[in-house]
Assembly symmetry: C3
Homo-oligomer: 472 residues x 3
């Protein structure tokens, strides 16, 4: 007899009876509302073309680096055996083998967010009622695989079944956004999938391929990029194109959050060095910070919300990077600093009526010390939801405890799933909704909020709050 | 029907029945004792002259930057509309308008310390029984305003009604302390209001006005300040004057906590540069650290307790600073380091029988890592209570959890309200007493302390502990 | 009537009934297993020679700097009055006087780990049933003292009574390990005491005595150390000797965790400078980081597990260090960084099948941000248990909450007591077992783990998990 898979309706709620009862009520109030997903990495092609997912592994396992990294780090699984990198050849046999590895090593996920998410995907989306294990691997694989062939499990069907109100993708500034175009023009499509402007690589002057990237940017924008003013103009045009295609935000991740403005002369000088491939790392960082500041300047013009999430050591495992490429789970967070780093930008644009910046972090130390004070003071600053490494239950609770007491219920971003694992989106938002309900329930049980206030907040957190943060 | 304002007697206590009951008992034991407030910013003039507060806004809203900054940052209110900066013209009409803005935006305070404090001020001090809102704004304003005209609400009446045993103010080293003098000489006054020596600006050699400040210091101390030895002597004299006037502590806030001692020759050289306006920022910081070390040396002579609270980015919003001045809510905490920074000072004076330093922080990361270990080792080091950004309920609990297990119940400062909002002092201390009772109740319920020990600690925390930390 | 000393069977468990019941069950499951202590500082001579402990003070008080530092820092006790440093003359009179100071100041330990440990040692090991105080000091002293003269309290008897399965000591690379030899050859001895290779001082090229240390190393290894290759070879030989004598790990503590590899030429150049006493602090740190990287290289050859615990300001109190020497409680933790620091080493050896590194910290900020992500990705990286300053109940719980959700139940080290206070070993492990049971109980009560999973984890945490981390 395989062990049953239980999905307790009270999961993640506190075990203390009074708080649990309040949490249930608040959760249900929030859950009457659809999911807003203003930042993530689902390929728009899936929804534009609406082709069936080929198999459980390609849909659920390979694209999810949260899952792969733990299998590698804890059970010693070779990433390549899980189909990594995405796009490597994966026939039915290899897909099933990868799935078996995953199920056999289910124990590595004990107590993790990955376990919570998968349990909800398995039980909630695919009706699986047995715990993954070596014995149940094939049974689960087959059960899912059969369903994937049906109409009900096509990407667009899932979009509706998941009760998504909006799904943002993440896109290269040079993209023609053809899939967004296709969706926009499709009379059959009544969902909302919007692009996000992600210019990171074009803002790294010390990259060896900066010149090529810049020329390609110039070509896409039909703009002369031989001066920094031209680079800025090309950025302006591409941002406007994205905005016309529905984008509401630009997204930025660099080694630090620096935003120091250079003199025009200095910026031009460094830009010319960068184009000539002669800029060093230090000057490259200086020019990049100036360029990030200029993205804020452009945001005041076009109104795109800026999202920041700096300070991660990308591709920490050089050998894995050489063999498998980026985004395979080898990124490690590092300490970050915002108070001094954002001061130049906020002093210029922090009170501008058109400017909004949502700051995300993988370093929870800054929530109370820097981000809550910044969001509590500047009308333009929002504290991003806990994501990437911080999107598990207890970390979400710590976030609420450390950010919310500073007036920032209404200066947070709402839940951000940030995921490529499409099927896990409802589970990820469900965890956030449960933990928010739990936090609010404690506040009510301790007479720090009245029930009417808590109920309103629970609903606002999934409706007006993300809408305001992302100008939806 | 306006929503009632509830002040539940169990507010902030845990909802679990066993812990709640213990917490109640401990809280009541502590609450039998008066409030000791050894650091704050209430103007001594209020008590010396004992004139009535003019209106609710001037008394409760305008001086409280905790409140103003959230109204600005979350609801987008212009700080000037709240009467900021203190001292700007405020007639009855503007005062009422500011109050209406405050009440209308009451929702921004949900879950904050500001809400907790105001609820207790409203219900506890002024007998208000409706929740602030656009509808109730005038009613609340009028109810408070009428009471302010009565004898019972004069500053001295409130001092007694608040059950204050001591109130420290914060004062410029050059102050003649005339209001303290007036109180000391007033046979009708039976309270205790003492000054605090706050020399920050005279210890910043890279300030453009350092020469003028130093000359003024020399004049006040009747001392030749043409050498660094003279500067030190002037400081010595002013500290002694403060001590004679009742001061028990000097207070220091700089960009970092550095205390490196320079050679006498080097110090003199930098001092001369500073007087000539030729010192750069780096050397200015060096001399400032030496000067701070010398404040500790003077403390060994005169016995004033040193309080430190470094590392805040003051006036982060340059535009608001230019328009409204300092202390309008635009200060943002930054990471701080104490282990290395304080080593030179503690190695010299850390075991000196006359030296005591209370270290405060806005960066909770250092509580467990640096401050508890320092206070657990050096007889002279005390960990300051959580204040400024950390004086809300959950942060107080985290402080207890991270500091207390290192032997430091008896090496903490006792609650510090650090406030200019006179009427909120009882509420601020009440929150601390409730959270301390709560922490102790958990320790008892988990069999980590016996009830007799917990009761003794609960009382010590509001009596002998602050008395010892501040040599009262 | 003296106050009784209570040792509640539910101590440290949550007071909420449902969680408490689950915690009890999990704790009992774990407690059926012996104690594995893979890192500590008990002198092997005690067990080799099995001579009786001379008195309570020498056994329980003087060697325990956790206890001494709090008596000094909170009650102002002179460390010398407690018999510090270990080895200073201590007759029966002085021992009793030290004990009286300790008992009289028992209040300083309220709410600390020291209190919890001593209560268990007193009640559990020596059958004491009164709370320490000035009045009960002699009674407790005499009760313990009498027992120490009996067979049952000889070191080897206690080893068995404590149910120890393994005890590791910490040893100088030049040690002949004679006591380990003696134990290994003793047919009467059926326990397991193993050495640990601790080469810190030989890896600090900027030490003034580096040349002498290196020559002694060369002599011990019978190796020419006139080149860096020779130094490495000497290290290789001594590590192998330790391994032959039973060692499973090498232990490393430096100012930072840097592991940057130098070119062979650069390393040689700096090494020659160091031998000539001409290396500066900065270059000394560079060469040290290279040497630490080389310890990892040697670990890939010999399979010794590497343990790291950097970033503590040793001998912070210069005066106490001059008077009493090292390890008297004057070490203060500082912030640490691992993500960037370990990258060179992990990029080279992080996926090597023979390499394992257990990373400890006194800076809890890195648990979630750096260590859990590293251990969740690299098969070779383990997160060390909370120790030194972090080995108290609530810090252990925070550790679980911040590390475990990243897949790292099975990438932790198991409890490490790291102690010289032999009699406290069971108490220290007991606290860890209780807190782990408590964490797991919450996960079960909140439906985040099933009971069968939690029970298996509770047992694995004290059996297979430390065995795997330390290759036992």
């Amino acid at each position: 007899m395989p062990t049953p898979l239980n999905l307790n309706p009270d999961r993640l709620f506190p075990s203390e009876a009074k708080q649990r009862e309040i949490a249930r009520e608040l959760y249900e109030a929030a859950n009457a509302h659809p999911i807003i997903s203003p930042h993530g990495h689902v390929p728009p092609q899936w929804l534009a073309e609406n082709t069936p997912f080929t198999d459980p592994t390609s849909m659920l396992l390979t694209p999810d680096h949260y899952t792969n990294r733990i299998l590698h780090g804890v059970a010693g699984v070779d990433l390549a055996d899980l189909g990594v990198p995405v796009g490597s050849p994966m026939d039915a046999h290899r897909a099933r083998e990868a799935w078996r590895i995953f199920c056999k090593n289910w124990w590595v996920f004990r107590g993790t967010a990955v376990q919570t998410w998968f349990e909800q995907v398995f039980a909630g989306v695919f009706g699986i009622d047995v715990r993954p294990s070596e014995e149940t691997a094939d049974q689960i694989y087959d059960t899912i695989n059969e369903q994937l062939q049906t109409e009900e499990f096509l990407p667009r069907s899932l979009y509706h079944r998941f009760n998504l109100a909006l799904l943002a993708t993440t896109d290269d500034p040079l993209s023609d956004l053809r899939y967004h175009q296709q969706l926009n023009e499709d009379p059959q499509w009544d969902g909302r999938v919007i692009p996000t402007f992600r210019p990171d690589q074009y803002l790294e002057p010390a990259r060896p391929d900066f010149k090529q990237l810049t020329e390609a940017l110039g070509a896409a924008a039909d703009t002369d990029i031989s001066t920094y003013a031209g680079h800025l103009e090309a950025m302006r045009k591409r941002r406007l194109f994205f905005k016309e295609m529905g984008a509401v935000s630009s997204d930025h991740s660099h080694a630090d959050a620096g935003t120091v403005r250079l003199s025009a002369k200095k910026a031009e000088k460094l830009y010319q060095k960068a184009l000539n491939g002669e800029i060093n790392a230090k000057d490259g960082a200086k020019l990049r910070r100036h360029m990030l500041n200029d993205q804020a300047r452009l945001a005041c013009e076009d109104g795109l919300v800026m999202t920041l999430h700096p300070a991660v050591h990308r591709n920490h495992d050089s050998a894995a990077f050489a063999r498998l490429g980026a985004d395979v789970g080898g990124d490690i967070p590092a300490a970050v600093e915002f108070t001094h780093a954002l001061q130049p930008m906020l002093s210029e644009y922090g009170n501008h009526e058109n400017f909004q910046v949502v700051v995300f972090t993988m370093d929870q130390d800054v929530y109370q010390r820097e981000l809550a004070p910044l969001a509590g003071y500047y009308p333009s600053v929002y504290v991003g939801a806990p994501w990437w490494f911080l999107d598990e239950a207890d970390a979400i609770l710590r976030y609420r405890e450390q950010v919310t007491p500073y007036g920032t219920f209404y200066k947070t971003s709402g839940m951000i799933d940030d995921t490529r694992a499409f099927a896990s989106i409802p589970a990820r938002h469900d965890v956030a909704r449960r933990m928010d309900a739990r936090y609010l329930a404690r506040m009510v049980a301790e007479h720090r909020l009245e029930m009417d206030e808590a109920r309103e907040i629970a609903v606002d957190l999934v409706t007006t709050i993300p809408s305001r943060a992302f100008k939806l």
